[in-house]
């Protein structure tokens, strides 16, 4: 247990020290999206899924937003630049926007 604690601590300090500011911004967005997802899930557990399409639309919206933000984070991370030779940060952001437009178009349609 103690090991885990020290490991977590060193993880936190390393994260704060080594991460560029833009990535931290994306991370905070992801944490926010994750929290909204958790809130929706808790609500569903308590109140039931009645308009099932509305719940699914909302929940998948958070999942998709999370994943797309993760994509953006991976593709703009300077450490990963070698893996994405053809993807510039601008291109990554454009992809992010395009995917989000499609997702939220479908979500709006699905809300009912």
């Amino acid at each position: 247990m103690n090991d885990i604690k020290t490991a977590a601590n060193s993880l936190l300090t390393a994260y704060i020290k080594d991460t560029p500011k833009s990535l931290k911004l994306i991370d905070s967005y992801m944490v926010y999206v994750l929290l909204t997802g958790i809130i929706q899930f808790v609500y569903v557990v308590i109140a039931g899924t009645f308009p099932n399409n509305a719940f699914l639309a909302g929940f998948i919206s958070t999942v998709a937003s999370f994943v797309l933000a993760a994509n953006l984070r991976i593709q703009t991370n300077p450490k990963n630049a070698s893996q994405f030779p053809t993807t510039s940060p601008e291109r990554a952001f454009a992809d992010f926007l395009a995917c989000n437009v499609v997702v939220h178009f479908a979500v709006a349609n699905f809300l009912g």
Binding site: A14, V67, A70, F84, A92
Partner: protein, 772 residues
């Protein structure tokens, strides 16, 4: 030939060849149009055609909310929510675009030509897919193979207006986009994959194949230790967007969150998230600390997911696998539990000969191509290997799934074939390079790659010309020309060589090359032969040869449907076995009890009961369902083996599954266990409505004696069956379709049997009186 000029030639040749391939693919699907006419074929296409007509006439919203009260009487069917609308929307869109530009094309012609048009696109996407795996020359070969492979043509001839017609294009194209996404790690390609996946979901139930194959690919890569950020980006984009989009189709609805078929994709999605997170953490801390964190994390996740999964399956949130799915794993399952699935001939296991029949030489090049994929084994090759393994298995289980196998066979056969060509047409520079470095397997450097591209292409052109030559003799000259061109090419390539291994002697090369070319000719010939002979019959119009060799067209189906259309009330209810439901609705515009959308087994069993019980029992069922007419197929006169007496056993089996007290299969077999219709037929058989309807007045056709049923080779009794609750309404020219009218209740309240007997008696009395 200098590198520069040959690359320009290649740039011109490639699109030309692709266009020629598309033309060949389209024109080899037009046999049935030329022989018969531009009609919709078979059974399911008639429903698609009818709904498309409705869509074009009434618009999209009306189509979406369409409740069809003319089918499944008295239940009706919510059409908008129970179809894959992809194909209807596609053809309505094409129709509207053409009309916008003032091309007044009829919707029927759009429907008839839709599948051939899409086959051209399929060939193009096979080119793209194979190009990602090897190079563009292999791509051209794959396109040419897929364009004419009978395994695909069987479902995409002109007039075969069915979901598969566009779905195979979507399948291949989605796989191409997926491979592109994995290769580049681009979210944009992931998005495109998801969008085409959506199109596929809207078009065909076979989308489940993609839903499982893509996650399987991702999972295999994970197991092989090949997780990369590119995989994360492509898979999670595809899954998140694709799943959301697929739920927009009403027929699919919430299934992606409920049924087991879709759970694998979800599981892999979760796994890949955890894996990516672990990779992220690993980047920040030393390995030892990471290990402790990992242990804790894995334990927590395992406990949570195990508890969650048990809870969900016990509470019934996740539905178990459906019957159709089980029948994929256990081929005997359907026969025992769901006769209605087993009764469809395209759900039967595949005979091994049909692999050769449908794919010819591709089937023995296929394993070689898979082997070559193993040798390369990049991410995309893993995909092709998985695809080929699973598609082969499924094609072995069900005949119709040959369709999903065909693309991968074409792709890997093209890889094998083009590797052979590369080896035996290689220019000297490569040989020199390999002599120097003593590594034979080095891939050719980019510079000398271009001339080798041009040569197989010329080959492909010759091959296509060959296909044409087989289709029309007029094209023969062209094929010679192209062949000569091929020859000139290979000679010019050969003349550039200076030093080479002994094995690269011109004669040994020519031996292999000529043999391969011969195979191509045989392949094109076989494809044309199979297409023209087996897959181009519209099955609503039959053609047969008479003794003197002249062709006889048997058009009884349309004759009967036309009679129904013109001579019955608007709301007449016609009962028939479910095979003809779609055709009757489409062509005769009558209300049907059951049709090819076999969603309600009980209702089908009720029809089966009405067909297989005696007149008294059956009449009650007919009255209960307001049946006005009964339509059956009888092939005994002309020897058409797909008639209702031959399907009768399935009706009995399905009826017995629901009404075990009224129908018993064993009663229809003679004591020796034979299925007989002649003198030996059992009492139950002779009294069943189907038997009576089939053979009613059959003996009279032969003047009282020696009536022979040509399908079952049975000598029929001279005294035929009598009917009391039905009367014959119409019988077509060749007796193929017989229509009976259900009698109304007797005016005097008598039993119909008694009244019929009374009528007959009176007639006899009157005639005997007259004689006096």
């Amino acid at each position: 030939m200098s590198t520069e000029s040959s690359s320009t030639v290649a740039r011109v040749l490639k699109p030309t060849i692709l266009i020629l391939i598309a033309i060949v693919a389209i024109s080899s699907r037009l046999f049935s149009i030329i022989r018969f006419e531009s009609v919709i074929h078979e059974f399911d296409p008639w429903f698609n055609y009818r709904t498309t007509q409705h869509l074009v006439k009434n618009g999209f919203y009306d189509f979406w909310n369409w409740f069809d009260e003319k089918s499944w009487y008295p239940l009706g069917r919510v059409v908008g929510g129970t179809v894959y609308p992809g194909i209807m929307v596609t053809s309505a869109l094409i129709h509207n675009v053409l009309h916008f530009f003032n091309f007044p094309v009829d919707i029927r012609n759009v429907c008839v030509f839709l599948a051939p048009m899409f086959s051209g696109l399929t060939a193009f996407s096979a080119y793209l897919l194979t190009k990602e795996l090897k190079d563009s020359s292999a791509g051209l070969l794959a396109a040419a193979f897929l364009g004419v492979a009978p395994g695909y043509i069987s479902r995409s001839v002109a007039g075969s207006y069915d979901n598969e017609g566009i779905a195979i294009f979507l399948l291949v194209f989605t796989f191409y986009l997926w491979i592109k996404a994995v290769k580049t790690g681009s979210a944009f390609f992931g998005l495109l994959t998801a969008l085409f996946y959506f199109y596929m979901v809207s078009a065909w139930g076979g989308y489940v194949f993609i839903t499982n194959l893509v996650p399987l690919h991702a999972f295999t890569l994970l197991l092989m230790g090949r997780f990369s950020n590119r995989l994360y980006v492509s898979y999670s984009t595809f899954y998140a967007i694709g799943t959301l989009l697929s739920m927009q189709i009403p027929f699919v609805g919430f299934q992606p969150t409920r049924t087991s078929e879709h759970m694998a994709a979800l599981g892999v999605f979760g796994l890949i998230q955890l894996y990516a997170f672990a990779e992220l953490v690993r980047g920040y801390i030393p390995p030892k600390q990471f290990k402790t964190l990992l242990k804790g994390g894995v334990a927590a996740v395992a406990v949570i997911s195990a508890v969650g999964l048990t809870l969900l399956s016990f509470s019934g949130v996740i539905a178990p696998f459906t019957g159709r799915f089980y029948s994929l794993y256990d081929t005997g399952y359907a026969k025992i539990h769901i006769p209605i699935i087993a009764s469809v001939s395209e759900h039967q296991p595949t005979a091994w000969t049909s692999f050769f029949f449908d794919l010819q030489m591709l089937i023995f090049l296929f394993p070689a191509g898979v082997y070559l994929c193993f040798k390369e084994l990049k991410d995309e090759h893993v995909f092709i290997i998985l695809y080929s393994v699973f598609a082969s298995y499924f094609a072995g289980v069900m005949v119709r799934l040959m369709l999903t196998l065909t693309p991968v066979v074409c792709v890997s056969a093209a890889i094998a074939y083009s590797t052979l060509l590369d080896t035996y047409l290689e220019t000297s520079e490569h040989v020199l390079a390999s002599t120097n470095s003593a590594i034979v397997a080095t891939p050719a450097p980019a510079v000398i790659d271009t001339p080798t591209v041009a040569i197989p292409e010329a080959k492909a052109a010759g091959k296509k010309a060959a296909a044409k030559a087989a289709a029309a003799a007029a094209a023969a000259a062209k094929s010679n020309e192209a062949d000569a061109k091929t020859h000139a090419k290979s000679i010019s390539a050969a003349s550039g060589e200076k030093k080479r291994f002994p094995i690269f002697n011109l004669d040994s090369r020519l031996l292999v090359i000529l043999q391969l070319t011969w195979f191509l000719f045989m392949f094109a010939w076989h494809c044309t032969y199979v297409t023209s002979g087996s897959y181009s019959s519209p099955s609503i119009v039959l053609a047969s040869r008479q003794h003197d060799g002249s062709q006889m067209i048997i058009d009884d189906f349309r004759e009967a449907y036309y009679w129904l259309r013109k001579n019955t009330k608007e709301d007449a209810k016609v009962m028939s076995w479910w095979d003809y439901g779609y055709q009757m609705a489409g062509m005769a515009n009558v209300t049907t009890l059951v049709d090819n959308n076999t969603w309600n087994n009980t209702h089908i069993a009720t029809v089966g009961k009405a067909m297989s019980t005696s007149e008294e029992v059956s009449y009650k069922v007919l009255r209960q369902h307001d049946v006005d007419y009964v339509l059956i197929l009888f092939g005994g006169v002309i020897g058409y083996s797909g008639d209702d007496i031959n399907k009768f056993l399935w009706m009995i089996r399905i009826a017995e599954g629901v009404y075990p007290n009224d129908v018993k299969e064993t009663n229809f077999f003679t004591p020796r266990g034979e299925y007989k219709v002649d003198h030996d037929a059992t009492k139950t058989m002779r009294e069943s409505l189907m038997y009576k309807m089939s053979y009613y007045r059959f003996a009279e056709l032969y003047g009282g004696g020696n009536a022979v049923d040509h399908v079952r080779n049975a000598r029929m009794p001279a005294e035929g069956p009598t009917l009391s609750v039905l009367e014959e309404a119409y019988t077509t020219e060749n007796w193929l379709v017989r229509i009976y009218k259900v009698k109304d209740l007797d005016n005097l309240g008598r039993d119909l049997k008694d009244s019929t007997a009374f009528d007959k008696g009176r007639v006899r009395k009157v005639s005997s009186l007259k004689k006096k």
